[in-house]
Point group: C2
Chain length 332, copies 2
């Protein structure tokens, strides 16, 4: 039985990943400081005897920490998934330096652990490293357009330098690591107050409040359902190191970075109308002026993920929204 | 008497800064691991009773280290200058992870020290944060065009995230910090083997070797003499915190970042011919094919530095080259 370590395992995406890993027959150690994650996210699998939760901050961990190795595990860690970092502006801007140091120390911890154990590492990067892109859609060769000194920089630059740390550790120490650049993803267990448009709309609709659109609602967004992302991560981690290296060398990328997202585009107004229809809510659409710091449009080019993983998003927005609404209906 | 701490104080720029600070009547503590710096660089002022050298790696220092406070200093540090980091590709690519961690840990150390002592901090950033710029010349509002996963990323992304760390420490803790983005700078005490065009040409000419131009030599570069940079740094550090904050707020920059460089442009061929004429060398010009990873053209827009500091570069290339040639003639 293989053992996987998941940092950020109590978070929205981390908890879906843990659930999937357990279903795939792995033993799972989840590390989380419960800052944005929660025990509730782990309820569905907390009783699984192969699941181990370590309440700890990834910034304080060292690779030799005995809590990382479950008693039954034979001392081995086979796979590491680094998902620890507040990922919504509401959260990461509340404690910018903590966010930045979590990006840096979290990946350093995972790299040290990978070095010490020989485990394969999947580092969760983000479409935010593209910043405010000058070209659409984004493909992996784009370098990004990011401000180093703004209020969002703590997240963007922290995640950028984490990619650099992974890339240089691969080159210098031959670590078997791979990175996904995750685009906007939604689903059950999203944080209800994280200010993202999907959770905002659903919560407003369920409460019967006005569903608030900023601007005229014609701005477009891409939405990936969480299960599609987790499927891509699992396929990516199942590939031999030589296959991954060969693929990215052929594509002239300095390190294995793969966009994972759903390229389908919807206007914010379309999303709002779909949510209202599915919730069967009496809420009305309300518009407010577009704020200065509006999240930027990003759309993934997933050509490489399709080619390398034989993968593409499967869950239509309508279905994903239904499952997400169901979750919020049960937990609000 | 004020006390200044200079990290990288035995380096090319650091040693000029130490010399200037001593001449300005400050007590100086220089920290350097002598990786690219050298004792020879400090010969001109090593005997000054107000100069203290600490051989240490900035990555291993803590703000409470007793060596940082000279016995006569009354326990105070008034100014911190963070110049520690290998800055030429030859050096920084030899140990990419060490370079990256020096950027990160070095600035974290300086920020902690500034927090603990209330000292004013000048952080040396670089034009490399602009990467391969899409617009010329570069002004401070540009965000840069930088690869996160390439072989140069260790330096570029390390320096980018250092800016983010400074900016967020200013916002979160009210630290009195300022940053200069240093453009291509030359002068005595440059490392002779660092692969930069000025030192390359001078060393080749003095040795009577062919002076090697890559490509047709029509590519342009900007060259700032070291004394001009040091003058800008001193003026910048003499300004009241409120003046600095007001200035950058008015210019809608999220943190005090100031380009410091010489906007005058010369072709590489012009530079080679000036060096040959000044050295009186029998060397000939030789051309080689342009390598793939040719350093990118960058030219500073110094409007803000002129306005804030009443400063502009004073030393013409011809004069600066003469002083630099003199140095290399004496030390080769």
């Amino acid at each position: 039985m293989k053992t996987a370590l998941v940092t950020g395992g109590a978070g929205f995406l981390g908890s879906h990943l843990c659930e999937r890993l357990l279903a795939d027959g792995l033993r799972v150690v989840a590390v989380d400081n419960l800052y944005t994650g929660s025990r509730r996210n782990m309820e569905a699998f907390a009783d699984n005897p192969e699941f181990f939760f370590v309440e700890a901050d990834v910034c304080d961990l060292s690779p030799g920490d005995p809590r990382l190795v479950p008693p039954q595990g034979g001392g081995r860690i086979d796979e590491i998934y680094n998902l620890a970092c507040p990922a919504s502006p509401v959260h990461y801007q509340a404690t910018p330096l903590k966010t930045l140091m979590t990006s840096i120390k979290g990946v350093l911890f995972c790299l040290e652990l990978a070095k010490a154990t020989g485990a394969r590492l999947l580092h969760a990067s983000t479409s935010e490293i593209y910043g405010d892109p000058l070209v659409h859609p984004q493909e992996e060769h784009q370098w990004g357009n990011v401000n180093t000194i703004g209020v969002r920089s703590c997240y963007d630059e922290g995640k950028r330098v984490a990619e650099t740390l992974v890339a240089d550790n691969i080159r210098e120490f031959g670590i078997d690591a791979r990175m996904v650049r995750i685009f906007n993803t939604y689903g059950p267990r999203m944080h209800r107050d994280d200010g993202r448009v999907v959770s905002n709309f659903i919560v407003q609709a369920l409460r019967g409040d006005d569903v608030t659109i900023y601007g005229d609602g014609s701005q477009t967004r891409s939405f990936q359902y969480c299960d599609d992302l987790i499927e891509a991560m699992r396929r990516y981690m199942s590939l031999d190191e030589a296959v991954v290296r060969g693929f990215f060398a052929r594509h002239a990328l300095g390190a294995p970075v793969l966009n994972v997202g759903n390229p389908g585009e919807y206007t914010v107004r379309e999303l709002a109308e779909m949510v209202l229809a599915k919730v069967g809510s009496n809420s009305r659409l309300a518009t407010k002026p577009l704020p200065g710091d509006d999240p930027k449009r990003r759309r993934p080019d997933i050509t490489l993920a399709k080619e390398l993983l034989g993968w593409q998003p499967r869950v239509p927005l309508a279905d994903g929204l239904e499952r997400t609404i169901e979750h919020f209906r049960a937990t609000l």
